[in-house]
Symmetry: C2
Subunit: 236 residues, 2 copies
DNA sequence: GTTCCGCGCCAACCCATGTTAGCTTGGCGG
DNA sequence: CCGCCAAGCTAACATGGGTTGGCGCGGAAC
């Protein structure tokens, strides 16, 4: 199980050997397996560990008291979740596994120390934060101003690039293990409408989605429909 | 013109005298005035300065090629905008003045140095980032899953707390210089519907909005309607 | 002082998306 | 091998919020 975070990072900057080794060590400390639909971090968890996603998909979500749920971010293999310590009594959101998950649990002290010892690692963490922020802004803009079909198309373009950055795309095909109800919560719609919209995308010859795998049939078309501009993707 | 960022910060942690002085110096370097509706940072600006908002309101927004606009964040007095350097050719969004604005322009090198010299300042910057991220998540969740009236109510609750943290609230009344078209772009709606919804909130006796000032008539009622949970506000 | 334009405000109409309800399929536990 | 349940899929109907268009006001430019 190779370290996808490293692979993503080194698409941008070559790390010093010592930093690379330190990051590798970190990721090998404490491997945890989480079943699909389990929480990695609960709404009421206090200060907690950071996590590196090694395999599987997770999401950050917020559950409202009346049952509504909003998924505010998707976490893919190679994503580093909360590199900086959060000193809060109560988290503002939870992190849940969408599929079976393999993660490295990272002690905050170990991260701090690695960042202090290797400026390159500190830079990585910072970049990961800035990337998460830019991504979050794009999601806010999208839910606010994109139509249903544009949102879905945009998400697929985004996933395509993010997964390609960690080598999980082959032949314009990649895993898409997110169920329609989950997509609905991520895009601010209902599962019924997600289904309608998927049908439209398929009928337009833009995508093919079967058995948890997505194939993009017409990438330029999909990007045009989504008004996709990759400027916000830091690692891709 | 006192430094509102300092005031906000020191509600949480007492800074060492040297750090406080350094932050004060930073803010006094290069004061800039910007007219309402002008961009502080454009969509196509490359790496740029950081800004400390001293007076007035600004917003981060994204303009789509077809004219649609999404406001993804409001920047209030005391907010620190982009403390960490962004090494990108093209920004993913712009920052614009909603009202006449007074800002301190901060050179990235000066910030880096202050952060290196004073761990307390580094901690402040990091906290500002984490706060921005949490805020952005809440906005994403809101646009995705809250109804029109809930969104508006929620925004007012948020502004109430954020402005209170810098001492700009008196008698449950605070400045609200955002026009209805701007509110629409921030909440993912149209100005017509914002108008309808404002009327509803007024009719329900929850708020009063006159002459760019908002008075909250029934805070508990407003919070209940908005499903407001302040867990995501780091400074307030 | 006049002109103009952006904003607040409102009503009528309409459509994109939500709601409800049901059927089908496939994977999993027993 | 059976039963169960979550997810995919669809149709019929309902509605929140978008669209269009129009009025009046007040502040800024001249």
């Amino acid at each position: 199980m190779d370290n996808l975070f490293l692979r993503k990072v080194e698409r941008q900057v070559r790390l010093p050997e010592a930093a690379r080794a330190a990051l590798g060590d970190l990721a090998r400390q404490q491997i945890r397996h989480v079943a699909a639909r389990q929480d990695l971090v609960g709404h009421d968890t206090g200060p907690h560990h950071a996590h590196l996603i090694l395999d599987g998909w997770a999401c950050r979500y917020r559950q409202f008291p009346d049952g509504r749920r909003a998924i505010v971010a998707l976490l893919l293999p190679g994503d580093l979740c909360d590199p900086y310590r959060v000193h809060r009594i109560r988290a503002d959101h939870a992190v849940g596994a969408l599929t079976a998950l393999t993660v490295a649990r990272l002690a905050p002290e170990a991260l701090d120390e690695a960042a202090r010892a290797h400026p390159a690692i500190e830079a990585c963490f910072r970049r990961e934060m800035l990337a998460a922020l830019a991504l979050q802004r794009e999601w806010t803009a999208g839910v606010g101003r994109r139509s249903a079909i544009e949102r879905l198309a945009h998400l697929f373009c985004e996933l395509h690039l993010r997964l390609a950055a960690v080598g999980l795309v082959a032949d314009a095909t990649f895993p898409m293990p997110v169920t329609q109800p989950d997509l609905a919560d991520a895009l601010g719609q209902t599962s019924v409408h997600i289904n309608r919209t998927l049908r439209e995308l398929r009928a337009a010859g833009l995508i093919e989605l079967r058995g948890r795998r997505l194939t993009i049939r017409d990438l330029p078309g999909l990007k045009a429909l989504a008004l996709f501009d990759p400027a916000y993707l830091y690692w891709a």
